[in-house]
Symmetry: C2
Subunit: 297 residues, 2 copies
């Protein structure tokens, strides 16, 4: 089967799984349940749960906790988007062509829907103990997931990014790396690491998976920055140089477009080599990584 078809099938499977773990829209608090479901089902490639599942399959996982954790990770990713879109943050009215959550349900419900999703993520993941009360890997997976989602992970990256933007600060390369590592790569690290942990991979293997994720996450972010520049050049009809006026500082600002492209290729090669060194069947995951870093839009 070709990659694109496999990808679409996996997305469909994950969306069915998400539906199964999302709350029923009933009771006095129905509005928030609708807002949660609307936010999660508004689209997306479901990359994070997909990567979690692939890592889990690679290591021959058998734990039933994988489903709840896949759903939890996507809920966390979604809550971060819902809050990012709020008026006090990026103030976006549309995402992927659909109205953002606060645009449909109002700002107060946007805040509460994000809160509800973040909480429900941990509620869902914790409930995998009902399936396997003695499974110590669930505890390890909860620690990993919460670390990567929090102030020493995704939220930490968001904060530094938001603060730099509010202050119109010209950030250093080191700070930019911090933002990318945390805002973008941390949830990808959570995906691969939790997949490994729940399938019983060793600590060393989990560390390697995390490093693979970090490299792919950075490559993905740099590619994003490259596409952004190319997109603007197309719109403006002329190349954008270092003169970009009042523009947000990105990886490309520091390294230039050629070096940035080289870095995407290098990070991807390193990630794939490290992935292969684990000695497992990883063909879909490898193709998925290549698909992500080679995308043209």
């Amino acid at each position: 089967m070709d990659f694109e078809k496999q990808l679409q099938e996996k997305i469909a499977q994950i969306e069915a799984l998400l539906q199964a773990y999302l709350p029923k829209e009933e009771g006095y608090q129905r509005t928030i349940l609708e807002a949660m479901n609307y936010s999660v089902m508004a689209g997306g490639k479901r990359l994070r749960p997909m990567m979690m599942q692939e890592a889990y399959i690679m290591f021959g996982g058998t734990s039933q906790a994988i489903g709840p954790f896949m759903a939890a990770l996507e809920m966390i990713h979604t809550y971060s988007l819902v809050h990012d879109d709020l008026p006090a943050m990026d103030n976006d009215l549309y995402r992927r062509g659909k109205k953002t959550t606060h645009h449909v349900y109002g700002e107060a419900m946007g805040i509460l829907a994000g809160d509800a999703l973040l909480n429900y993520a941990y509620e869902t993941a914790a409930k995998s103990f009902l399936l396997e009360p003695e499974n110590v890997n669930i505890g390890k997976a909860l620690i990993k997931l919460s670390e990567k989602a929090g102030v020493y992970g995704m939220v930490g990256g968001q904060v530094v990014d938001v603060e730099a933007e509010k202050k119109q600060e010209v950030i250093t390369k080191e700070k930019l790396d911090f933002i990318h590592h945390n805002k973008t790569a941390a949830l990808i690290e959570a995906a691969l690491a939790v997949g490994g942990i729940l399938s019983g991979a060793s600590d060393t293997e989990v560390q390697k998976l995390e490093l693979v994720a970090r490299k792919i996450g950075l490559a993905f972010q740099i590619q994003d920055d490259i596409l952004d520049v190319i997109g603007k050049e197309e719109v403006l009809g002329k190349p954008i140089g270092s003169d970009a006026r009042n523009e947000k500082v990105t990886y490309v600002t520091y390294e230039g477009i050629e070096k940035s492209k080289e870095d995407v290729a290098r990070l991807t090669d390193e990630a794939l080599e490290l992935l292969h060194s684990l000695g497992k069947e990883d063909s879909f995951l490898s193709e998925l990584f290549l698909h992500l870093v080679n995308r043209e839009k």
Copy 2:
């Protein structure tokens, strides 16, 4: 030792515990760490962690997980206040005489600080597995905590309350009970239930603790509504009757002030009787409950 002195000592002990579990203010994401610590250390009676600890002591708890869970519960309570105070919600600039978090750090940081606290609550609680990897009660406690904090608990209650206010809806008595049970009582239920769970109390005992918490939570809320009416009467210099113009519907609106007072007394009696029926030393917890429902401000 008299009750008030005991109470102050316990508050001081819990504040020291919170300090120990809060993050260090360092790194690029320093602002959010400061905002988290500011929010949690801005005061309060620490009732929820105190009740958790008392339930734990009642049942002879020995698990080291109690500290992380006490801190986690206070973080969850605090995040809910931080988000409640936001401009899109209650738009409060001061709480307990101090500037609210968004008033100090800006609206974006207010949102993110709440998110960070909620996530850090689960991160802190989950890390108690590092102390006791095989303790199955930690998993049960995580399930209970997340249920009571989420859409079938506190957030559910907040949502219905916020929605009714935005719509200036005259809510039914049933809906009001739903709001009180979830918005106010759910985290008190979490406090007593988790304290019981972590000390190895039986399922039946935990259920009774939850029911005690529910009754005390409702009594506490009704007392709040009564004090609100009395406060307004004092300000206006005349009694407020059913003519209260455009006022928010409260328990007192439905039941009148005398029946409301009777209900506080009845619920408190029932809660204390149920608490005593557990056959444990509960003198401080009983006094704490009486202190809460008999307060005059």
